[in-house]
């Protein structure tokens, strides 16, 4: 395929961005409404449960070091069935690439600049995404390194500033309702944290020199992103209490509202917004990039950059259509997104893994290219 190569350090930042972007601002409310004061245990368990899932992704990546998910499914499932499966996965990537501009427009117009038309915000955001992809994957990866650094520093700053408001009573009683609600909450959180990294399979093995080193970085990035999400949920419950966390649309934003040191340090919740935009940008651009790469692979296009701008126009219109209102979005994200990402982020790779094992062990077929290994 292409000769674009990125370093394993950049895999850390891309994975961390994808993991954080999907969850850090919004999802705390849902988790807190299910697990109540034990939401933080749920999010810790989620990171733990994610490890086998990431292991499956890494295993597939190591067996096919020069392919992305589209190539893998076509290699394993045959040309026709593989193309259908890959097409369904690409559809998910496309969905996400216009959901995120919708969130951006919604958040900006409801919290920060209410009189600006949301089309303008979305158009600027989509323009930034397209420019990132036109510059190429290396530019995106390098930018993500800087973004993650800024986001982590700002995140630590916000959490330290919030710390005086934390009340340990908000966490008590621990495990009041038993372990079941905690497990349920971590099942939901997995859909926004661990399964999101499936999009990295469009980048991870194909654009990397050393897929073993890359695998370690993948895990490190996952832990970094998961840690940020976990701490944000913990601090929301500690400082706000689970009831307020569960009832606010953007719990972490509300959390930062609490910061008020004298007159100098007030209204710094915008910092939370900066963290969110930076990680969200990595997330949406990785999804959009994955879609464009996979789509041009299915159509056998030589130059994927030619279809970026026409697709950006489609994203602009679709980001307006996709959720008619907030109530629809909140219902959709729980009742549809959870099973949707579960089938593509968990069932699909497990299915590929089983097919791989059957073909290799039972049918003794020579499958997977290992020339890049050893």
């Amino acid at each position: 395929m292409s000769e674009t190569k990125i370093t394993s350090r950049q895999i850390i930042s891309l994975t961390a961005g994808v993991t954080t972007g999907g969850s850090v601002l919004v999802i705390g409310a849902l988790i807190a409404s299910v697990a109540k004061q034990d939401a933080w245990i749920g999010s810790l368990l989620t990171i733990l449960f994610g490890i086998p899932v990431i292991w499956i992704y890494l295993f597939l990546g190591r067996r096919f070091p020069r392919m992305n998910l589209v190539g893998m499914s076509r290699e394993l499932l045959g040309k026709w069935f593989g193309t259908i499966v890959a097409g369904s996965f690409l559809f998910l990537l496309l969905q996400m690439s216009y959901h995120i501009p919708w969130y951006m427009g919604d958040f900006m117009t409801s919290r920060i600049i209410p009189e600006t038309p949301h089309y303008v915000i979305k158009a600027l955001y989509i323009a930034a995404m397209s420019i990132a992809i036109l510059y190429g994957l290396e530019a995106l990866a390098r930018a993500s390194e800087i973004f993650i650094m800024i986001a982590s520093v700002l995140f630590v700053f916000v959490m330290v500033m919030v710390a005086p408001n934390a009340k340990i009573e908000n966490l008590q009683p621990v495990l009041e309702n038993g372990l079941i609600p905690v497990l349920k909450s971590s099942a939901i959180l997995s859909c926004f944290l661990s399964f999101m990294t499936i999009s990295m399979l469009m980048i991870y093995p194909a654009h990397l020199d050393d897929s073993k080193e890359g695998g370690k970085s993948f895990l490190k990035g996952y832990f970094l992103g998961g840690g940020i999400t976990c701490i944000s949920i913990l601090m929301s419950v500690l400082a706000l209490g689970w009831a307020i966390t569960a009832n606010s649309r953007f719990p972490v934003f509300r959390l930062a509202n609490l910061i008020n040191v004298g007159i100098v340090f007030s209204r710094i919740e915008i910092i939370v917004f900066v963290i969110w935009v930076l990680t969200q940008f990595i997330l949406s651009t990785v999804f959009f990039y994955g879609f464009i790469i996979g789509f041009s692979q299915l159509l056998k296009l030589k130059d994927h950059k030619r279809i970026v701008l026409p697709l950006a126009l489609i994203l602009l219109t679709m980001s307006e259509v996709v959720f008619p209102d907030v109530a629809y979005q909140e219902h959709w994200i729980v009742y549809t997104w959870v099973p949707y990402i579960f089938t593509h982020g968990f069932v699909l790779p497990v299915f590929l893994l089983v097919v791989y094992w059957v073909k290799k062990r039972v049918l003794k077929m020579d499958i997977g290219d290992n020339q890049g290994q050893k």
């Binding site: 409404s33 299910v34 559809f91 969905q95 038309p117 089309y119 158009a123 349920k184 099942a187 939901i188 041009s296 159509l299 056998k300 296009l301 030589k302 130059d303 030619r306 279809i307 701008l309 026409p310 697709l311 126009l313 489609i314 602009l316 219109t317 679709m318 307006e320 259509v321 996709v322 959720f323 008619p324 629809y328 959709w332 729980v334 009742y335 549809t336 959870v338 099973p339 949707y340």
Partner: protein
Amino acid sequence: MQDIAVALFVAVFSIILCLIEIPDLSKKKMHRELGAFVVLVGLGILLALLKSLGWNIPNPSDLIAWTYSPVEGIIKSLLE
């Protein structure tokens, strides 16, 4: 009103894009890219036009929601 402005923007942007890309693509004999490009630009203009005329564009979220409606009960039991 906003939708009309967006449709105009999309139309103007697509025309400029076509004027730049189509001669270049056909000169380099990249016929597949040319085909994909024309179809996608056409789709983009069509969607923006339909939106500005107030027509209902079929929402992919509805399609996915319909596909996964049988498992709604399981999700409900997760939320309790």
